[in-house]
Every structure is written in structure tokens, then in C-alpha cells.
């Protein structure tokens, strides 16, 4: 029978299955960071257990780390204790950790792929909802809670039920300047933040095949914002070329054997999906969110929607609440909205291609006077190094951006980088929830080029209008 990509990945990892469909699923790669792991390690110790296969774990502190000078360590005591706890746990159990002073340190969803630790055909988990990122490699990757982190540590498995299959097909090619971020925001705008709940989403179609692996990562990263724990893209030559030669990727005979297997990781002709959504790529414009949920999104040439036009009373109430929180009036042109801060970074958009796209806009321009802070936070030490080799840091600094150390930073503001109440931010991150980037902060999600364009013009602008 014809199988979907998800069917294949699932089937290859089932250890055992009960009659009611409850399965024990084997986990190949476990990424660990400081926020969701301490209680899991504590549980492991209390039960006198050890990690089942310690070599499958890769750890790095990312949420709490400062993005400014690190020579003095972390000044916030609570943050420091959490990072030290991760270091201690990794040392005690012999876990491979890229500590804060390691060039390879970074956001776990950036370093897994960068190191070749996230591979096609793997099951990849992490106590972090944006683990869906790694589905870009044709892997089954999803976020888990802390109880499950402990469960994977102790057993190398998870108790799971199979999700349903959804195919989101983006037909045709996107226009120049339209990124994986714009595609995924357009998808979320169409299906809603709960549209993918209960599904594993496969993204397919010409526009997806034409994306780089990094673009596919931005896309799969936000599958969770559409409600799906896992998003994925079939393996092709682009995937295989990206993986080749990375430190933890297979080599020699293993490489050939792996590639032969990876080439089977696509949905078969005639495979049945429980739901199919089709989108025309040519309709996708640069996206900007206006509200407090990623589904509250329009294009840069649109206006802020009017709740009066909404017929569903719960939705209407949500829109009014969002407008009030965001300090926006209905029908305001998006291009008239002026941010106070600009954040380029996060597990969605902090890879080298993201920084190149932002730098291409920043080059030869200056951050506008009304922008209090424009910051670029690379996703890892190695991304930072690569960007500096290409001279991107100089472009940003000359334009008036701050060039920072790697971490999650202002995506969720667990470190010192945050919005003050009422501040508005053009952000390349993934969530515009109330308070996400700091209590009272107002987030507009955009692509890296759109964020850089907002920084240099002082308001949202269609990047295609910038010459």
C-alpha cells in the first residue's frame, strides 16, 4: 500500500504497539536545553536511573544565555543557576554538551542540523515545541514535555499514538524575496493556529522543493504554530547535499547506505492523506502579523483587519482584545505601523541565509531614528563565525544594528533582551502572544529581510519596493 512520508517514519520507529494503537516509539536523537530538563534529570536521579543511550543526546544552553559580553558569566542569578544545572547534569551523566563558551553553542534547533546531528529518517525530540524544525530533513521531529524528556532519557522511547496525515501543497513558484517564513505565515493565516492539531503535516509542492534546507527549517519550525506537533519535507538532493560532510553525519560505507535509505523518504505516489490543503505560491506576499496569535496575519500591502467584519463572536472578541493589546486601530495600513525595536534571530530565522537576507537590505543603509534598538542574534557560534567571515557583522554594525552572541534572546525574553511595556517590535521569531517578548510588548512577526527593511525605513515596507 502506498505510504506517506509520515507513515514510513512512524513505522520504522515502532518498538511495539497495543491493540488500541498506543505505541512505543523509538527515539534516535534527543536535544536538551536548560529550561525543560532540570526536573527530568532530577526524576532520573530519584529513581536511580541513567540515560539509556547517552550518545544520542546533544545539549546546549540557549534560552537563558546573555547575548552581550559573556566574560562575566550570567548576571541574573536564577538564569545562571539553570544553566549551571544543565552543565552539572551533562557532566554527571556524560552528555555531549556545547557549553556557553564553546564556539558550537547555540539554539538547539540551529546546532542539531548544523552538526549533522539531525538526519533524515530520524526521530528527533526535545523539550521544546519548535523541535518540528528538524522535520525539514525528512525526519519525524516533535516537541515534548518534561515528563517525556525524562521518559526518553530513561527508556529511549516515548508512548505515542499516531497522528493523522495532512499534506500542505504549495503549487508553483514564489515571487522573488518571498521566504519560507512568508510561506508558513500564509499557511497559518489560512488554516489557523489549530488547523493542524492532531496531524503531522507534510509540506510539499514546487515552492517547497525550491526552498533551501534553511528555508524548509523556517517552514517546519512553525508547523507547531499551525497546531501540528510535527512538520516535514521529503528528502531530496538538496537535503542530502546539506547533510554531507557535517561532523555527526555518517561517512564512508555508512554514508552510501544512509543515502540509499534516505532516498526512500518521500510519500509514495497515491498515498492517502486525511487532509489536503493547496495554496498557490504566486499569491503569497510578504507577511506581517498584526495581532496576538500567528494566525492574525496579513500581507504588507494590507490594512489591519476590522473586527466589525467578523461574524463569529468568539473570534470577534479575540480580535478586539488583540487590537487593544497591540495598540492598533482597525483599517490602519500595515505600512503605517512603526516599530520601536527590531529583532533578527530565533530558531525560526537565525541561520546564515537569514542573516545574508537581512544584511542585503541593511547594506549601505542606516537604522531609522525612531528605532530604539535593532539587534541581530545569530543562532549559533558557528553561524556567527561564518557571518563574520562574510563581513555581514560589519554591514550590520555600520547600519546601526547591534551584533550579538548566539541564543534564543528576545524571541521569548528569558534573558535580558526584552521589550518594555507598550514597545512594538518587528521580529523574525515565531510567536506574537501577549507578553511573549516582554510583558506588554507588541510583536509583529516577519521574515529577516522584512525586519531589516522595517529597521532602515522605520516602518513596515514591502521589501520589493526597496531598491
Amino acid at each position: 500500500m502506498a505510504k506517506t512520508l509520515y507513515d514510513k517514519l512512524w513505522q520504522d520507529h515502532v518498538v511495539r504497539m497495543d491493540e488500541d494503537g498506543t505505541a512505543l516509539l523509538y527515539i534516535d536523537r534527543h536535544l536538551v536545553h536548560e529550561v525543560t530538563s532540570p526536573q527530568a534529570f532530577e526524576g532520573l536521579r530519584l529513581a536511580g536511573r541513567k540515560p539509556w543511550r547517552v550518545e544520542t543526546i546533544m545539549a546546549s544552553p540557549d534560552h537563558n544565555v546573555p547575548t552581550t559580553d559573556r566574560s562575566q558569566g550570567i548576571s541574573d542569578e536564577v538564569s545562571r543557576i539553570q544553566v549551571e544545572t544543565l552543565d552539572q547534569n551533562c557532566d554527571d551523566f556524560g552528555i555531549n554538551e556545547f557549553k556557553m563558551d564553546d564556539i558550537r553553542q547555540g539554539i538547539v534547533h540551529v546546532i542539531g542540523p548544523e552538526e549533522g546531528a539531525s538526519l533524515p529518517g530520524m526521530t528527533v525530540v526535545c523539550g521544546d515545541s519548535h523541535t518540528s524544525t528538524h522535520g525539514a530533513f525528512g525526519a519525524l521531529a516533535f516537541g515534548i514535555g518534561t515528563s517525556e524528556v525524562e521518559h526518553v532519557l530513561a527508556t529511549q522511547c516515548l508512548i505515542q499514538k499516531k497522528s493523522r496525515n495532512m499534506l500542505i501543497k504549495v503549487n508553483g513558484s514564489v515571487a522573488e524575496g518571498i521566504t519560507g517564513k512568508d510561506i508558513v505565515l500564509a499557511i497559518i493565516g489560512k488554516i489557523g493556529t489549530a488547523g493542524g492539531t492532531g496531524y503531522a503535516i507534510e509540506f510539499g509542492g514546487q515552492a517547497i522543493q525550491e526552498l533551501s534546507v534553511e528555508g524548509r527549517m523556517s517552514l517546519c519550525n512553525m508547523a507547531i504554530e499551525a497546531g501540528a506537533r510535527a512538520g516535514m519535507v521529503a528528502v531530496d538532493d538538496v537535503t542530502i547535499d546539506y547533510v554531507k560532510g557535517r561532523p555527526y553525519a555518517p561517512d564512508g560505507q555508512d554514508w552510501d547506505k544512509a543515502v540509499a535509505y534516505w532516498k526512500t523518504l518521500h510519500s509514495d505516489e497515491g498515498a492517502i492523506f486525511d487532509a489536503v490543503v493547496e495554496i498557490d505560491a504566486c499569491d503569497i506576499q510578504p507577511q506581517v502579523t498584526w495581532g496576538t496569535s500567528p494566525e492574525m496575519v496579513v500581507t504588507v500591502i494590507d490594512k489591519v483587519p476590522d473586527p466589525a467584519a467578523e461574524t463569529d463572536p468568539v473570534k470577534q472578541e479575540g480580535m478586539m482584545r488583540a487590537l487593544e493589546y497591540m495598540g492598533l486601530q482597525a483599517n490602519t495600513p500595515i505600512a503605517d505601523i512603526a516599530p520601536d525595536k527590531v529583532f533578527i534571530g530565533s530558531c525560526t530565522n537565525s541561520r546564515i541565509e537569514d542573516l545574508r537576507a537581512a544584511a542585503s537590505i541593511a547594506k549601505g543603509r542606516k537604522v531609522a531614528d525612531n528605532i530604539k534598538l535593532a539587534m541581530v542574534v545569530p543562532g549559533s557560534g558557528l553561524v556567527k563565525q561564518q557571518a563574520e567571515q562574510e563581513g555581514l557583522d560589519k554591514i550590520f554594525i555600520e547600519a546601526g544594528f547591534e551584533w550579538r552572541e548566539p541564543g534564543c534572546s528576545m524571541c521569548l525574553a528569558m534573558n535580558a533582551d526584552r521589550l518594555e511595556p507598550g514597545e512594538r517590535c518587528a521580529s523574525t521569531s515565531n510567536r506574537n502572544f501577549e507578553g511573549r517578548q516582554g510583558q506588554g510588548g507588541r510583536t509583529h512577526l516577519v521574515s529577516p529581510a522584512m525586519a531589516a527593511a522595517a529597521a532602515v525605513t522605520g516602518h513596515f515596507v514591502d521589501i520589493r519596493d526597496l531598491e
Binding site: V15, R16, D18, D20, T22, L24, Y26, D28, V35, T36, P38, Q39, E42, H63, N64, D76, V78, I81, Q82, L119, M122, G127, D128, S129, G143, I144, G145, T146, S147, E148, H151, A154, T155, Q156, C157, I159, S163, T193, A194, T197, G198, G227, P250, D254, W255, K257, A258, Y261, S293, E317, G318, R321, L412, M414, R431, F433, E434, G435, R436, Q439
Partner: protein, 212 residues
């Protein structure tokens, strides 16, 4: 894990859709390395008018009298009714920890985000899915009657209303079994050590690069 069998409690109506985990427990409280103590900061940014940080004396803070959790009639609430897509956003288990620490044992909503739903069961909490129409009806009844309580009987998969009316609900058999008996997932999985080892041997021959 604490068993869940049957309970009766005050019902609190949370009349918002898409309540996300950042709202349930804001990020600054995620810096704790403990599993408990999150209750006083549940819904922190909605519940208090001032900015909360870990270690603050919450009894001295400025509470928001307009937030439902602060209404005198809902004090001691143990059952939360909510709108669709409750618990969306991050995978933080701190969200169910905070709800449980506050005193909630049951949530009733038309739908949940997958990770939150899953995390709740692992902490002795029961998230129940009812149709939007039934949830609407419960919202109306709770708001109309001070001291409105429901009884939730997991064994019978039934919600008993003050007027004696019964609403039945569905629950996954495996999760029900774990909740009723307070079973720890890890203990259950470790009963299958042999299966895991057999799988590993087979996989090692098929995909040796995963074992290096």
C-alpha cells in the same frame, strides 16, 4: 503520579479562545529548576497588575480585580472551563504544573493543543473535550449560578451537573487506565525492555549510522 478517580469542585469560566502557555505561566517563572510552586504565578500577567518575577511575595502584589481567577465567587476553583485550542504554544510542562499547583484537576474545553493535552495527563490532571455547544451551555450555567460545582467521575466517564444532569465524555483507554491507577509511564515502558533491545538490534543492522 496522583490518582484521579472522582472529584467535585468549583468551576471557573475562562472565556477566551487560544489561551497559550505563555499566558498560563510566563517565561520568567520557567527559570525554576523545581516541579512545584508555580500556582501563585498561574496566569501571572492577567492575574496581577504589576510585573511578576520569581521570588516575589505574591501576597503583596497588586491583583487585577477584573480577572476571573480573582473573583471571590471562584476562589478554590478546581475545574476550569475554557474555549477552543486551550494550551497552544510552547511545550512547557510548567503550564500543567501551574494549573495543578493552583488546584485545578480538570479542564473542560472544545479542543486543546496536542502537547499541552498530553502533558496534562502526565500530571494527574484530566483535560476533557466536549462539543462547543455543551461548553457554551456550561459557561452560561456557571456564570448564572454562584457556587456552581460539577462532579467529574473518570471511571464512569461522566460529568454530573448540580441539577443531576449527566454529560458523558470520551477519554483514551490507556490514559484513563494510567490516571485511575496513578501509573508512571516510565515504569510501564520498562516492562518492555526486551522489546526495546530487540528493536535496537534490528535497527542497528538496517541503519548502522544511527548507532555510532
Amino acid at each position: 503520579m496522583e490518582k484521579f478517580t472522582k472529584m467535585t469542585g468549583i468551576v471557573v469560566p475562562m472565556d477566551r479562545a487560544n489561551v497559550d502557555t505563555d499566558a498560563i505561566i510566563p517565561k520568567q517563572f520557567l527559570k525554576s529548576i523545581k516541579r512545584s510552586g508555580f500556582g501563585p504565578n498561574l496566569f501571572d500577567e492577567w492575574r496581577y497588575l504589576d510585573h511578576g518575577e520569581p521570588g516575589m511575595d505574591n501576597s503583596q502584589r497588586n491583583i487585577n480585580p477584573d480577572f476571573v481567577l480573582n473573583f471571590p465567587r471562584y476562589q478554590g476553583g478546581q475545574i476550569l472551563i475554557a474555549r477552543k485550542n486551550f494550551g497552544c504554544g510552547s511545550s512547557r510542562e510548567h503550564a500543567p504544573w501551574a494549573l495543578e499547583d493552583y488546584g485545578f484537576r480538570v479542564i473542560i474545553a472544545p479542543s486543546y493543543a496536542d502537547i499541552f493535552f498530553n502533558n496534562s495527563f502526565k500530571n494527574g490532571m484530566l483535560p476533557i473535550i466536549l462539543s462547543e455547544a455543551l461548553v457554551d451551555q456550561l459557561f452560561n450555567e456557571v456564570e448564572a449560578e454562584e457556587g456552581y460545582r460539577l462532579t467529574v467521575d473518570l471511571e464512569q466517564q461522566a460529568i454530573i451537573k448540580p441539577d443531576g444532569g449527566v454529560i458523558e465524555f470520551e477519554v483514551d483507554e490507556f490514559r484513563k487506565h494510567c490516571l485511575l491507577n496513578g501509573l508512571d509511564d516510565i515504569g510501564l515502558t520498562l516492562q518492555h525492555i526486551d522489546d526495546i533491545k530487540v528493536y535496537e538490534e534490528k535497527r542497528k543492522s538496517e541503519a548502522p549510522w544511527l548507532f555510532k
